[in-house]
Symmetry: C2
Subunit: 361 residues, 2 copies
């Protein structure tokens, strides 16, 4: 089969140009006679590539020098634990904003390490809107404020970075990092699993204000301590070298595409097209999210009759539209529109949806 349009929520579509490059040099990288996966991470070739990847990421996001960049393992889920281990002292509390499935997971994994104060929650509203900023019960003595700018399952996204004063703001950007320009200076810590907008799974990116590196006081193994990873340039132990390499190729692809301003505009156009198609379907398709909170990255939608779900999935897959099945928590369909999903994919989806509605009236 030739390539399909892939709407997977993650691990998600990667840029075809990145995959083709990785394929072409898979058995012989940079004329070394070996794969990038077969290189020592302490060798000159790998270190040069790794440093270039960090430099390209810094250029893309305009990361200031007082923020360190780490390439880690364990996924965002492990960071749910490592963040309080590193940023909170014994007895400290931290504020968490509960805006969906992933916020709730971050809260539950943090509880062994910090007193969690759920400063705001949209749970009672079925996570179909964001907790209004004016309702947040923030504690000025909190070790940090944690929130999830985009929720993949409920399809909600913060349109702006919330103002939280002097307390360090921590954001799980797994599903929307690099999708538009970001003012990194407003954050104490940004982290993201790679498998949506960065590269393959098994890599997690962490951007942390350097003064926060000194906070970790409790006893723990060095492998959990951000300061040790930063001091070792993320090579405290063998990193995920393949993931780092593919992330680097993706950063180069983003730069060549015009950077994050261009990606932001493209992602806006893609999401607008799909939401317009849903909203203009006369109720055939529905998205339940407050329009002010709708995600540009993950668009869940239902059909007016759930008996049509099975034929929709079957016919869409036959039409080369992959992974549209919604998460079981909300049902229906979901189209994820990360950076590597081009406008043509959304156009194909929208055309299919229109055609499907006509045929299954």
């Amino acid at each position: 089969m030739s390539r399909v349009w892939n709407f997977s929520a993650g691990p998600a579509a990667l840029p075809l140009a990145v995959l083709e490059r990785a394929r072409d040099e898979l058995t012989d990288w940079q004329g070394s006679g070996a794969s990038v996966m077969e290189q020592s991470h302490r060798g000159k070739r790998f270190i040069t590539m790794a440093a270039q990847a960090e430099a390209d990421l810094r250029a893309l996001l305009d990361i200031p020098a007082d923020h360190a960049v780490l390439f880690l393992q364990g996924g965002a889920t492990q960071q749910f634990a490592q963040i309080p281990m590193n940023l909170a002292g014994e007895g400290d509390s931290a504020d968490y904003i509960d805006s969906g499935h992933w916020s709730a997971k971050a809260i539950s994994e943090a509880t062994p390490y910090v007193k969690v104060n759920v400063a705001a929650s949209a749970k009672a509203a079925g996570y179909r809107q964001l907790p209004p900023r004016e309702s947040w019960q923030l504690d000025p003595r909190a070790a940090y404020v944690h929130y999830t700018p985009n929720e993949t399952i409920h399809g909600v996204e913060f349109p702006d970075v919330p103002e939280v004063g002097e307390v360090p703001l921590v954001a799980d950007m797994s599903s929307n990092i690099l999708s538009a320009p970001l003012d990194v200076r407003r954050f104490g810590l940004v982290y993201a699993g790679a498998q949506k907008n960065i590269g393959p799974s098994g890599l997690v990116l962490l951007i942390i204000r350097r003064d926060l590196l000194q906070r970790a006081g409790r006893p723990m193994a060095r492998i959990f301590r951000y300061a040790d990873h930063a001091a070792a340039d993320s090579m405290l132990n063998t990193p995920n070298t393949w993931g780092w390499y593919l992330a680097g190729l993706t950063f180069q692809w983003l730069l060549a595409k015009g950077g994050l301003a261009a990606m932001g505009a493209a992602n806006r156009a893609k999401a607008d097209l799909l939401y317009a198609s849903i909203d203009g379907s006369g109720g055939y398709y529905r998205n339940p999210v407050d329009p002010a909170a709708r995600s540009r990255m993950n668009v869940p939608f239902t059909l007016h009759d759930s008996a049509l779900d099975a034929p929709f999935l079957q016919e869409s897959e036959a039409a080369g539209l992959l992974a549209l099945k919604g998460h079981k928590a909300v049902g229906g369909m979901r189209a994820s529109l990360y950076n590597a999903v081009p406008l043509e994919a959304v156009e194909a989806l929208v055309a299919f949806m229109r055609d499907f509605a006509t045929r299954h009236g």
Copy 2:
């Protein structure tokens, strides 16, 4: 450049057949129209592949049903911490055998979580021999006994599995797993970073006796708890899907090569050839390790005059022999002879060494 003979200590050589297969299906896996890296780990295709990889590993190592197999992240270094977190209760002690660099690291990363009793150490002997079994000061109340069957830097390897009675035996097999048959029943826990004999870095394999899963009593996030990973078939969060896939291809390659008995014989022959070449060089090359403790996987050697190190490295690389530089802790050279390094590579190395000695008399 065409492929070279790669003696890297890790990330190390992978079987060329595995790399070529991965290359050929990189943009379209199993006719799905997408890469294996672009598939949901919860999708049928990935789950089927993942289960087959586990089944193949179980066949290779004859893993009994009462041992669980986990595919995790974070490298063996993270396991240095997770093992005591999961196997030791508050106030427990554990016995550690110190046979080299990696044993020492395992000890230092464990200390925040368990009282470490160094039951035996070869440090005073420069790690050139193994601590004799009869000298081990084992504690029958220890939570477990930890040892490192092969040490990559000092090039020492235990020829047999030590008898430790009823206390669960824990082994860091990062550098010699799958290199010969192994009686998994003798172990409470075996773990291995993938980047030597299994696949790319960023994946760690863990084989644990199921009754030990229930030991973890202390408060910790679920992501650190083996029992939760086992209950979720290693999909508690998104696993390293690429690493899992390549590991599965490697397991198939090993089965096709005749399994671990065949690999054991091949690895014995490779190591014997290189050690014979060193020992027969009239002192031109030297390996300082007690012959009874010499590693089949990592062969460090020095030249009789360290001024020859630079030309040796330069000429060997020009001859298509990659990554022979020794670790700075011991100096000189090191040839790592993992499964994916064929006998032809060792023959080429031995021929080069003989030729070099002749030319540089």
